[in-house]
């Protein structure tokens, strides 16, 4: 017996180590019993069933992790510096750069090691679980990882499948089983799988052991969503339900299972902040190099004077004298590099990483983003993009399930042009019959309702079997489907008396209006796909008639039915679409046995095809679904999600451009856009649709004319523009037929798009969505894009955009699995972007700038000191201070700041979208703020050094006349430095928590404590006891105290002055606040208007609504006519 069971297109993939590239198909020998003696049984080598999601093992962790870490440019740089210090005689010991590097490497390694340990644990749980394998007609218990391809595995109810299995036999007689794939794609409905027909009977250990067969199947491939495998493939990770036990043969094991293949391959997204960091790094590297060059040059200029080079009191060693001058210069250069290398902030990367990792918890902990309905909050899949949320310029949103609830309600239907709504007696009425009965059934209406009952993939889930016996039959079951539309339709049919009772042994049962049972044999389901935009079923009635029912979008149905039937229905469909309903058309045709046989044969052929299966299937579908008769159309309402309009308004006001990308009809989408205020009544709409372009052959020219017309029109700033484009027109623009001059039109189109505040793209295929995102992403200035969607058709655009957001909606979990962040509702986007994104951006930008700043004013005094020590690379600070500065004294305050800072209250940020614009365009990491920070760092470095320099003109600073030396000099500079940079952060902190207090004052206290401790002991491991009692002596001098306080004050003076000036400016602005939109008080609002909100960016007062923020109120200078809200009323 030879079977080709798995007709998937070939995919070459070499995943198992040691296996050559495998082409085509794989042959699995069931139970390892060769089919015939003559067949040379060459055992193909397959993976074992071990799942390895972990990256490291105990043995390779150290080398592999180190290698990975040193691939990072910054780590590698510090490694080089460290090696230079070890090899060359440098001013500072290797410890000074080795220890911070070690710290950074260790922290990262611990984090990665921990994550890997978690993966190991998860792997083991799967790999070590017990499974039963049928061997020699006996059940053998084995660990899951021991399963080999070809083993026959027995799985009991509620167990998960240990590997990908071909379903051979089940305990149920009809050879079916129910499976839920909740852990794979989040769809919790039960899917029915069918055993291979020839083996259905082999439902005992002995029987199944006697089976001799080989399976021809194609090579493993990761596509989980294309189709969840043919009906007899059971996927690893899915769970067996409602079936006692099944037998299956392992075909894909371990890393070749679909589940494992799907774990890989999500590309890494990098944030824009990282690019800024790299640019700054280069600047600082240049500063470092030029400092080292300047010092080296000056050193040799200075040394040209022999008594400077080698005075009698300071002779060179023999070795030093013998070295070549060029080599000496080179080592001098390296030494200066080492001395100044701290200007590159070693711990910045690890701090950034920790900030992102810890910071992402705030999103998932946010109670306001918790949804009671699904009992889940926001989900963070990657923490790398937190700050990107504050930089979004374009928002691409799906409509269904994102802007709308995706909970469908059957509103009305139209049958043969007659409209039916709510109940039978109303409009047009069911009682009214139209003409003679032409086809099966008593009337068109009944045919229509039967079509609704039959043409779907809805399943029935028995809600509670015990209760069900007693309770009303209506409540005994719930409908489950991957599409909410279908449920709405089935429920709609039920309302009119036709109840779908379920599918048993390929027979669909319906209870009709007269409470009679009707059964139909389900022959074929032509599944829905987004390209075809329709689905069909072929059924056989009890009388033997063969019927094909088809339902789908009007655009895909109308070309396939008798043209004279369309007109009446089209009117209804269009009107429904205008009202914002989702419309579907229903058609049918009767098949003769001959026709059916042909279709059946073609379908089976296509299903079995190992190559180009999709294309072949599509071809058969195309041929089958033709020449149908239109019966009617349905209208289903999809309600807007709560607050989606307010959210879109807020995004607009925050300067973001919102594009709606939907697969829906233009009319439906347009009305939704109006409802959620994407388009205002005042918005001027530009349309580039099949309607305006026309269907003629000249449509391309017409399109170009339109484009030019829109492009040349006079764009006024006060007017808002909206653009509507549909899929076919878009593909005309993006993929023009003749390649002449068309790229130019693409540009014009893009320019028009960028000028519009809102764009609606309807009739989009999933790939087109991604295409649009890519187009915008690659425009000049590469704006940050965000995609939000809930369904599988949004995955492509979610992956394409800079930030992908999934909605934990009703259409499974594909979107949220592939997203960077997942939220329960669209309205949460507002807080996610306006508050969290803004804060994360401000935090990380401040963190980056602060890091460069604090290292600049750390190293600048050391650089200046070279001018006073004969360019001898004498370090200013003690090695302990050099080492600890970045990792102990100044690391925690900035980390706490970058986690907790709210420079503006989080509620104000959510309430006032205009604040978002303040940080747009990466505003805080541009060159101007960078220069400001750099100058601040340089200024402070100068103050530190020269302040202490002048203090040391008389170095006897103690009251007993004793004298301070060079290490006291450095310690005073360092003390001023640590206090200044920490207090600077304290000045910047607007949001104080106990944690900020703890780390800021704790760091300073730790510094003082450490200095006492470090100077209080003669350390046996140190060659020189430089710091012995230096700190304590320093503190006994009153002059030093006065100098330290003065220098800290001078260093912070510009900052303090700036804060004072800002305060004054803000206050005076508040006085004149009416001239610009700003935060003010509601005191001036007319009576009765209290509790009303006037939104910025909007030109009218919103009707009385509770304000989202606390006492934040907004107004706009331009008041709507009739409302006299002028400055006088404010007084």
């Amino acid at each position: 017996m030879e079977q080709g069971l798995l007709p998937w297109p070939p995919l070459q993939r070499a995943l198992c180590a040691g296996e050559e590239k495998r082409v085509g198909t794989r042959t699995v020998v069931v139970g390892h019993r060769p089919v015939s003696e003559t067949d040379a049984y060459v055992a193909q080598k397959f993976c074992d069933n071990r799942i390895v999601s972990s990256k490291y093992t105990l043995w390779n962790f150290l080398p592999k992790n180190l290698f990975e870490q040193f691939r990072r440019i910054a780590n590698f740089y510090f490694l080089i510096i460290f090696l230079v210090q070890v090899i060359v005689d440098t001013p500072t010991s290797p410890v000074t750069s080795g220890l911070p590097l070690f710290f950074v490497i260790t922290v990262t390694a611990i984090k990665q090691g921990y994550e890997d340990w978690l993966r190991h644990r998860a792997d083991n749980e799967v790999n070590k679980s017990n499974v039963f394998i049928v061997e020699n007609a006996k059940q053998v218990q084995k660990e899951s990882e021991k399963i080999k391809v070809g083993d026959i595995v027995e799985v009991k109810a509620d167990e998960t499948f240990p590997c990908d299995l071909i379903f051979l036999a089940s305990s149920s007689v009809d050879g079916t089983c129910y499976v839920t794939t909740a852990s794979l794609d989040g769809e919790s409905n039960f899917k029915t799988h069918y055993a291979v027909r020839d083996t259905t009977v082999l439902c005992t250990d002995e029987a199944i052991d006697a089976l001799t067969a080989t399976i021809e199947c194609e090579q493993p491939q990761p596509d989980l969503y294309k189709s969840l495998g043919p009906e007899n493939l059971l996927l690893k990770g899915a769970t067996l339900k409602n079936t006692k036990k099944i037998y299956g043969v392992a075909v894909y094991t371990g890393m070749e299972t679909k589940m494992a293949l799907n774990y890989q391959g999500k590309s890494q997204k990098r944030s824009a902040v990282e690019k800024s960091i790299n640019a700054f790094l280069i600047v600082y590297l240049c500063i470092l190099l030029s400092k080292a060059t300047v010092c080296t040059t000056l050193k040799y200029v200075w040394q040209s004077n022999p008594f400077n080079d080698e005075p009698w009191y300071n002779e060179k060693t023999k070795k030093e004298r013998e070295t070549f001058k060029v080599l000496r210069m080179f080592t001098d250069f390296l030494s200066f590099m080492v001395l100044f290398n701290f200007i590159i902030p070693v711990s910045m990367y690890v701090t950034v990483e920790m900030q992102k990792f810890l910071g992402s918890f705030f999103i998932s902990w946010d109670k306001e983003m918790y949804d009671e309905e699904i009992k889940e909050g926001a989900l963070v899949n990657t923490s790398d993009l937190n700050e990107e949320l504050g930089q979004v310029e374009y928002v691409f949103t799906d409509k269904t399930g994102t802007l709308t609830e995706n909970s469908m309600e059957f509103i009305e239907c139209c049958i043969d042009g007659h409209k039916y709504k709510d109940c039978i007696s109303e409009v047009d009425g069911f009682s009214q019959t139209d003409g003679p009965l032409k086809y099966y059934g008593k009337s068109r209406e009944e045919l229509f309702l039967r079509a609704l009952c039959l043409c779907h993939t809805v399943q029935i889930k028995e809600a509670d079997q015990v209760d069900g016996l007693i309770g009303h039959p209506e409540h005994r079951y719930t409908y489950i489907s991957s599409s909410p539309d279908e449920i709405a339709l089935v429920k709609g049919a039920e309302k009119y008396g036709f109840t779908f009772l379920g599918l048993e042994n390929n027979f669909m049962k319906i209870r009709n209006q007269k409470n009679e049972m009707e059964t139909y044999q389900l022959l074929h389901v032509l599944n829905f796909d987004p390209v075809r935009r329709r689905m069909s079923v072929i059924v056989r009635t009890t009388t033997g008639k063969l019927l094909l029912f088809c339902k789908g979008a009007d655009s895909s149905i109308f070309p396939r039915v008798q043209q004279e039937e369309i007109q009446q229905t089209k009117v209804h469909v269009d009107r429904n679409a205008m009202d914002g309903y989702r419309t579907l058309c229903v058609a049918f045709k009767e098949l003769t046995q001959k026709e059916y046989d042909k279709i059946d044969r073609q379908l089976n052929e296509a299903k079995m095809a190992l190559q180009d299966r999709e294309e072949k299937m599509a071809k058969v579908f195309e041929d089958t679904e033709a020449d149908m008769h239109l019966i009617g159309a349905t209208a289903v309402e999809d309600r807007l999600q709560e607050q989606s309009a307010e959210t879109i308004e807020a995004l607009h006001a925050a300067g973001m451009k919102v594009w709606v990308l939907t697969g829906d009809k233009m009319e439906t989408a347009k009305s939704t856009c109006y409802a959620c205020r994407l388009f205002q009544t005042s918005t001027e709409l530009l349309e580039l649709t099949a309607k305006t372009v026309g269907e003629s052959e000249r449509k391309e020219d017409r399109l170009h004319e339109l484009l030019m017309e829109y492009h040349k029109k006079s764009w006024t700033l006060s007017q808002e523009y909206g653009l509507i484009i549909d899929g076919s027109t878009l593909s005309l623009i993006l993929n023009p037929s003749q390649d002449s001059s068309s790229s130019n039109y693409k540009n014009i189109f893009l320019q028009i798009c960028l000028k519009c505040t809102a764009v609606l793209c309807c009739r989009m295929a999933p790939l087109q969505k991604a295409q649009i995102v890519r187009m915008v992403k690659n425009t000049k200035g590469s704006p940050i894009t965000l995609s939000i969607g809930d369904g599988a058709n949004d995955v492509s655009m979610i992956l394409e955009a800079h930030v992908g957001i999934g909605i934990k909606g009703k259409e499974g979990r594909q979107a949220s699995r592939n997203s960077d962040y997942a939220v329960p509702k669209f309205k949460h986007l507002r807080k996610l972007l306006l508050a969290h994104g803004h804060l994360y951006y401000v935090r990380i930008a401040h963190l980056v700038q602060y890091f460069f700043y604090k290292n600049l004013c750390f190293i600048l005094p050391q650089f200046l000191y070279q001018f006073f020590c004969g360019f001898s690379q004498q370090p200013l600070y003690d090695a302990a201070y050099l080492t600890m500065y970045n990792i102990c004294f100044t690391s925690l305050p900035i980390l706490a700041y970058s986690l907790l800072e709210q420079h503006i209250n989080i509620d104000t940020l959510t309430a006032d979208p205009q604040l978002y614009m303040k940080v747009s365009d990466n505003a805080m990491l541009q060159w101007k703020p960078f220069l400001y920070w750099t100058f601040l760092g340089a200024f402070e470095g100068l103050v530190f050094f020269f302040g202490v320099y002048f203090l040391f003109q008389n170095s006897s600073l103690e009251d007993n006349g004793k004298v301070f030396g060079n290490w006291t000099f450095g310690t005073i500079v360092f003390t001023v430095l640590v206090f200044t940079v920490t207090l600077k952060l304290a000045l910047d902190t607007r949001f104080w928590t106990w944690m900020n207090h703890f780390v800021i004052w704790g760091s300073l206290a730790f510094y003082v404590f450490f200095s006492f401790f470090w100077g209080g002991v003669i350390w046996p491991f140190l060659k020189q006891q430089r710091m012995y009692f230096v700190f304590a002596h320093m503190l006994t001098s009153v002059s030093t105290w006065l100098a330290i306080i003065l220098l800290i004050f001078i260093s912070l003076f510009p900052e303090i002055l700036l804060i004072v000036l800002k305060n004054i400016k803000e206050k005076s602005h508040q006085g004149h606040g009416a001239s610009t939109a700003g935060v003010g008080s509601p005191g001036w609002l007319p009576a009765g208007w209290h509790g009303c909100r006037i939104c910025p960016g909007q030109r009218w007062l919103l009707p009385c609504q509770p304000c989202p923020g606390p006492a934040a109120w907004y107004w706009q200078d331009q008041c709507p006519p009739g409302l006299t809200l002028s400055q006088e009323t404010m007084g």
Partner: protein, 326 residues
């Protein structure tokens, strides 16, 4: 002169009087003596000018014996009332040069016997001499300041020596913890057996002073020298002059002479030597920088405060009406 010593304002021969911009930090040569009340007195005795009494010693070398001596007379116009501190100052002497700073062995100085006979490699090229370990080793110790300064009050042509106290000039922790003589039996000479004196020294370390608690590594002059200065122009505490009784000032106004045993050559590297007499307040030594800086910053703050107050007064009132909370 310091490579980087340009632009430091020095007002010479002038008492600060009412001006604040006085700077006592004179590392330029001041041919006459600064003598103002509360400000230190500095005498440059390098002897570069032919007229200087020390000119004859300018090119002295380390091993000249007997030492070249010279005397500088000066007049103190105001008396020093409280304890006076006597410093020597050196200019253009790079005690903070890296090669110099690290050229010492702290464990040897801490009395470690192993390090005494086997000094650290950092001491090169002052580690051994004629195969014997140098104690104390290193460039710092080798170049220890060895001029002898003596002060006389001239009263009607009689020279009364001023008592100079040589103990209490080093940090207590240095003298008692960080610097230790080698341990063992016998006197210091025996303890330093097997070592040799630094090349430039006239006598070994155990003969620095006659008093045993100020001899060897714990000699305070030595300890003071071993604390390397931060800048190429520096001063180090040399002696203390204590006030004897409440009736007389420590140093009365009048004529004095400074006798110098000129051993320390500085001319070869363009250096300078000074003797400084200063009193000290509770704040430590006289430091004009702090005064100037505090007054400047204070005035700027006051000025800005006034300006901001005016701005606040002028513009600040208008918002009160709009600020009524809900």
């Amino acid at each position: 002169m310091g490579f980087w010593s340009w632009g430091v304002v020095t007002l010479q021969n002038e008492c600060p009087g009412n001006t604040l911009a006085y700077s006592s930090i004179s590392f330029f040569y001041s041919p006459t003596v600064n003598d103002c009340p509360f400000f230190p007195l500095q005498i440059d005795y390098t002897g570069t000018e032919p007229s200087s009494p020390c000119n004859k010693c300018l090119n002295v070398s380390w091993d000249s014996s007997p030492p070249c001596t010279c005397t500088i007379n000066f007049t103190l116009e105001h008396s020093f009332e409280s304890n006076v501190f006597m410093y020597y100052g050196l200019s253009n002497f790079y005690q903070n040069h890296r090669r110099y700073v690290k050229s010492r062995d702290d464990s040897q100085l801490n009395g470690d016997n192993a390090s005494l006979l086997n000094p650290s490699k950092e001491c090169e090229p002052y580690r051994t001499n004629e195969d014997k370990p140098i104690a104390p080793c290193g460039a710092i110790a080798n170049s220890m300041f060895n001029d002898t300064l003596e002060l006389y009050r001239i009263d009607n042509d009689t020279r009364t020596p001023i008592t100079l106290i040589k103990k209490g000039i080093a940090w207590w922790t240095d003298k008692n913890v960080k610097f230790r003589n080698p341990t063992g039996d016998g006197n210091l000479t025996a303890l330093f057996q097997g070592t040799t004196k630094p090349v430039n020294w006239p006598k070994p370390v155990y003969m620095l002073d006659s008093e045993p608690d100020n001899n060897g590594f714990i000699n305070e002059d030595f300890i003071v020298w071993m604390r390397t200065a931060a800048l190429p122009t520096f001063r180090k505490l040399y002696r203390l002059i204590e006030r004897k009784n409440n009736l007389q000032p420590t140093l009365q106004a009048g004529k004095y002479s400074l006798d110098i045993a000129y051993n320390y050559p500085v001319h070869s590297f363009d250096g300078r030597k000074r003797m400084i007499l200063s009193t000290i307040s509770w704040m430590g030594g006289k430091n004009p920088f702090l005064g100037i800086a505090y007054i400047t910053v204070g005035s700027i703050c006051f000025f800005l405060g006034v300006v901001l107050l005016i701005i606040h007064h002028k513009y600040g009132n208008r918002n009160t009406s709009a600020d009524i909370p809900n």
